[in-house]
């Protein structure tokens, strides 16, 4: 008889599966974590290389001369900004026109769902100013974008100054095959979102913007510049965009090769690269860099103005100038030359960047880990869920035979067969309703909360969210009143929950590996070990500690630690609250999906497991 159709053999296999299940699950978990940690080890990574043939090497002669003039322009810009209090639109328009660009403005306005305490804004009204440098001989089918944000305080003046200086220099060259759009956006991401939505004729987030009068063709690549000092000691590259999307690795390779050519120190995650990979400190530096990238990607928010371009399949990155205490300083002219070189190479492109990887992790700027290498780390964690599901299936299949042997009456098998659909659906539906409440109620009920409690709107929203989250813990006492399920019904519910979690985490990991991996790290052990038979108090504590909310708290603390700015508990808690409010705002303003995912899917899944723990 065949291997799987012989009942004896099958029973032997299933016995093996049941006996070895827990050890294999533990092994898989350790293997997943070890694989992830091993990704940063330099011999396991690959050196970055330029994949796009059209961009080739750094063979280009940069001749940008006007760094000092750019600084003068920056000072003028700063003065006008201080005088007018907001963006000096008229001065910008006049300056760009004098440099020979086609200048247009766009006004936009947006009322946030609740006030943003980090940036102190609620009703946002602003203007974007952009100038288009038309390619001298080419048809207007493609464009490149260079943008600099107009920040309310005294920062990023030099970025705007350098942008205008480059505009003047680029205008006198004849080798541009694509239009170049020089954009100065107000209110950073909100202005950028308004501009992009208007450019692409979409309206995803319900913002109010004026249509664009001038356009430049489909955008092939975009660079955002943040420069707040006259000299820099290093340039930092920011890649993480909305929903953890990353630009094509060729853009990072391009930046790195030009940094080396201009002899500028370049960093990623603001951490320097070390060459001693075989020492502990070298390895830990690589792990820290990679972990920072994972945390930033998992948060789903755009970490620079470039982050919103990625949704439109425009490869973009932010270059941030950092001025720290180092002897070797780079002046504005060299930064200008770097940008000139990058733009000349992007100009050579014939099609969008697509030759290199879209999914990768960077332990340092010259080493990368591609999706084929990092996905098994998540795969090991997902396998645990599948093994558990298989184990439960086997247990459910073995039950009827046990009760038949034990009791022998005809009526019992019918009773102990799989419980009714309603009794399984009840906890699922109630958990999802709680999740829906967590998603909608905080923002909707902020006025109500402000009337009754002495808190500001933002605090009201965040505290309502935490309240609903904690209220969900009391649910098992409520759901049990409505269910009359057999004792073994929890197995079916757990099977459903485990498979649901597996699908959810796998889909998340495909789009945003970091988010899926971090959630899997805490949720998979919970899903694996929870049954009604484990010691209740201890498991309840462990489950709360591994819940999505606490995972977020740990991530906040870990992020601060990795950035070498550790916080105390109180400050960490305040930071955690602001992270929650930022997450909700990101979702409302830019369409970030992390908050809906956590509220509508992950939290209900965890609640179902919580229900199983308190099964009677």
């Amino acid at each position: 008889m065949g291997l799987l159709s012989d009942p004896n053999r099958r029973r032997a296999l299933t016995n093996l599966l049941t006996r070895l299940n827990t050890p294999i699950c533990v092994l898989c978990y350790l293997a997943g974590v070890a694989w992830f940690m091993g990704l940063a080890f330099e011999p396991f990574t690959l050196r970055t290389y330029m994949s796009e043939n059209a961009m080739g090497s750094t063979m280009v002669e940069e001749r940008f001369p006007a760094g000092e003039r750019a600084l003068v322009t920056a000072r003028e810009f700063g003065a006008h900004k201080r005088k007018s209090g907001a963006m000096p639109v008229d001065w910008l328009v006049k300056t760009m026109q004098s440099r020979g660009l086609e200048v247009y403005t766009q006004s936009f306005s947006r009322r946030l769902p609740f006030p943003d305490e980090n940036k102190e804004r609620y009703m946002v009204r602003g203007t974007n100013v952009y100038g288009i440098l038309r390619a001298p001989r080419a048809p207007r089918t493609e464009a490149l974008v260079l943008s600099a944000p107009c920040s309310p305080d005294n920062s990023n003046n030099q970025a705007v100054g350098l942008l205008l200086g480059l505009a003047q220099y680029f205008r006198s060259q004849i080798y541009w095959a694509k239009d170049i759009i020089f954009l100065v956006n107000e209110h950073d991401l909100i202005g950028m979102q308004a501009w992009l939505e208007a450019y692409h004729h979409t309206n995803i987030t319900g913002m109010d913007w004026a249509p664009l009068h001038g356009r430049g063709g489909s955008i092939q690549a975009a660079l955002s510049l943040e420069l707040s000092s006259d000299v820099v000691t290093s340039l930092d590259l920011v890649l993480e965009g909305l929903n953890g999307q990353l630009p094509n690795l060729d853009l990072a390779n391009l930046f790195y090769t030009f940094c080396q050519k201009q002899d500028i120190l370049c960093t990623i995650q603001e951490k320097l690269q070390r060459s001693d990979w075989d020492s502990v400190s070298g390895y830990s530096q690589a792990v820290q860099t990679m972990a920072l990238m994972v945390l930033k990607q998992a948060s789903g928010r755009p970490w620079g103005d470039h982050g919103l371009f990625l949704r439109y399949h425009i490869e973009s990155a932010t270059i941030r100038g950092i001025n720290s205490f180092r002897q070797y300083k780079t002046d504005t002219t060299t930064v200008g030359r770097l940008l000139e070189g990058m733009f000349r190479k992007l100009n050579n492109l014939l099609e969008r960047l697509h030759q290199s990887y879209f999914f990768y992790l960077l332990p340092s700027l010259s080493r990368f880990v591609s999706i084929g290498y990092y996905m098994p780390a998540f795969g090991f964690l997902a396998v645990i869920l599948l093994l558990r599901a298989l184990d439960l299936w086997v247990q459910l299949g073995a039950l009827p035979s046990v009760t038949e042997d034990g009791v022998g009456s005809r009526a019992l098998p019918l009773q102990s067969s799989s419980p009714s659909l309603v009794s399984i659906l009840t906890p699922v539906v109630i958990s999802h309703l709680t999740g829906a409440a967590l998603y909608t109620l905080p923002v909707l009920s902020q006025e109500l909360a402000v009337q009754h409690f002495p808190v500001s709107e933002t605090e009201a929203v965040v505290l309502t969210a935490i309240a609903i989250y904690t209220a969900g813990l009391a649910l098992p006492h409520n759901t049990h009143r409505y269910s009359s399920i057999a004792k073994q019904g929890w197995r079916v519910l757990k099977l459903v929950a485990v498979l649901y979690l597996a699908v959810l985490l796998s889909c998340t990991a495909l789009i945003n590996f970091s988010l899926g991996f971090i959630l899997a790290l805490t949720l998979v052990p919970v899903a694996a070990f929870v049954t009604p038979h484990v010691p209740k108090v201890l498991s309840a504590v462990v489950m709360v500690l591994l819940a999505p909310g606490c995972t977020l708290l740990y991530c906040v603390f870990a992020f601060q630690e990795l950035q070498e700015a550790p916080v105390s508990l109180i400050d960490g808690w305040m930071l955690f609250l602001s992270v929650i409010s930022q997450g909700m705002l990101d979702h409302a303003l830019y369409g970030s999906l992390v908050y809906p995912l956590l509220a509508l899917f992950i939290y209900p899944c965890w609640l179902i497991l919580w229900n199983i723990l308190f099964w009677k």
Binding site: N53, A54, G56, S57, M59, V60, E61, A135, P136, R137, A138, Q173, I174, Y175, W176, A177, R344, N347, N348, L350
Partner: protein
């Protein structure tokens, strides 16, 4: 009509008078006989660049520099078929519009004022190339796009672009294989479209393109062997691309020293760009060529040199008494056409196939039992 071998040459005597008259006459007779026995009366060139796009600038510069040399040595535009994508000079990315440079620092503009491109842009296809070679063109094709060679023509064919083992890529959408090329040359031979043909190719793994030739009177040169890449040269920072490939760069330098009266022969051409300069190993093939390469002048292919000798004396030429070789008998056909491809080393059958068949057999016998073996054997 005119019968070869019985011409009569009046003229002015310009030879050395130190020789005795009879020896002098014999020398001239020998030379005149040799002159009239030569089968080469005209020259053609087919220069093809198979790449387009800005980052393939060097392929266009390669072809244009060979074009320039060939024109300088005497082949007129009416005898040159130039096939280029021609999107370099007026490319939006060209900082020096209307120029194509072949030396960095913009020393030499090979585009010039008098370039005549016969097939440009998307007309450079495998089909057009083969039609030009074989002459199978529709009647409406203008003369400038035809290769109007006859059986006394020496043809130079130069190809450059991106290639691989056994193929050459035409403009990103199609390829020509070495077998197709060999068959095209055989068609040319059978239609008496060439006397001798020199084939030069500058691509990666270029030697694979002449491996399959089987027609007589073909000489071939390639810039690299199978498994090697041909490298680019002359990086120019102002323009931002490589301007030439190594092999053609050194070929151009070699040709700059050739003038119409030069006596340099093919052995010198084979020495162009040794491994130290080219990094790849250039190769050549002469086994199908009748004459000894040492006696073949460079100008036989690269120039259009009119051989005119003036003498005051009357020279009697004897008729050609050797039985002329019939055109198709010059090489044994059976030996050429049925050339077997080189025997590859025998490898044992792939492990995967073996494993698959073993699995199938095992399952079969496991299911149906060993007793069925007797039905098979």
């Amino acid at each position: 009509g005119w019968k070869r071998g019985s011409s009569f040459l009046p003229g002015i005597d310009v030879t050395d008078t130190k020789l005795s008259t009879s020896a002098f006459l014999l020398l001239h007779q020998a030379r005149a006989e040799r002159f009239f026995r030569s089968d080469h009366t005209n020259n053609w060139a087919v220069l093809v660049c198979t790449s387009r796009f800005w980052f393939n600038y060097r392929h266009v510069a390669n072809t244009l520099s060979v074009y320039r040399s060939v024109k300088r040595l005497g082949i007129p535009d009416s005898h040159i078929v130039l096939m280029l994508a021609d999107d370099m000079a007026c490319n939006h990315r060209n900082p020096k519009p209307a120029t194509v440079f072949s030396h960095k620092n913009m020393e030499l503009n090979v585009y010039g004022d008098d370039v005549e491109v016969d097939y440009r842009g998307y007309e450079v296809t495998v089909e057009n190339f083969l039609r030009v070679l074989t002459g199978r063109l529709p009647p409406s094709t203008p003369r400038s796009k035809r290769l109007l060679s006859d059986d006394h023509s020496n043809i130079l064919i130069y190809l450059t672009g991106h290639g691989g083992n056994g193929f050459l890529k035409f403009q990103d959408s199609e390829e020509i294989s070495n077998v197709e090329l060999a068959d095209a040359f055989e068609q040319m031979w059978q239609k008496r479209r060439y006397n001798e043909l020199l084939f030069i190719i500058d691509t990666c793994q270029g030697a694979s393109m002449y491996e399959r030739f089987y027609s007589p009177n073909l000489m071939a040169l390639a810039s690299s062997q199978v498994g090697e890449d041909s490298l680019s040269h002359q990086p120019d920072l102002a323009i931002g691309v490589h301007l030439m490939d190594r092999y053609t760069f050194y070929l151009l330098e070699f040709l700059e020293d050739i003038h119409p009266a030069s006596q340099a022969n093919m052995n010198d051409l084979f020495k162009v760009c040794p491994k130290s300069q080219c990094v790849s190993t250039p190769g050549h093939r002469t086994d199908l060529f009748q004459r000894d390469p040492g006696s073949v002048l460079i100008t036989d292919f690269f120039g259009s040199v009119r051989k005119v000798e003036i003498t005051m004396e009357t020279i009697n030429l004897t008729p050609h008494t050797e039985t002329a070789l019939a055109y198709v008998d010059q090489l044994p056909v059976a030996q050429i056409i049925h050339q077997k491809p080189k025997q590859k080393d025998w490898h044992p059958p792939d492990g995967f196939i073996l494993g698959l068949w073993t699995l199938i057999l095992l399952v079969f016998f496991r299911t149906y039992g060993i007793k069925h073996l007797k039905h098979i054997f």
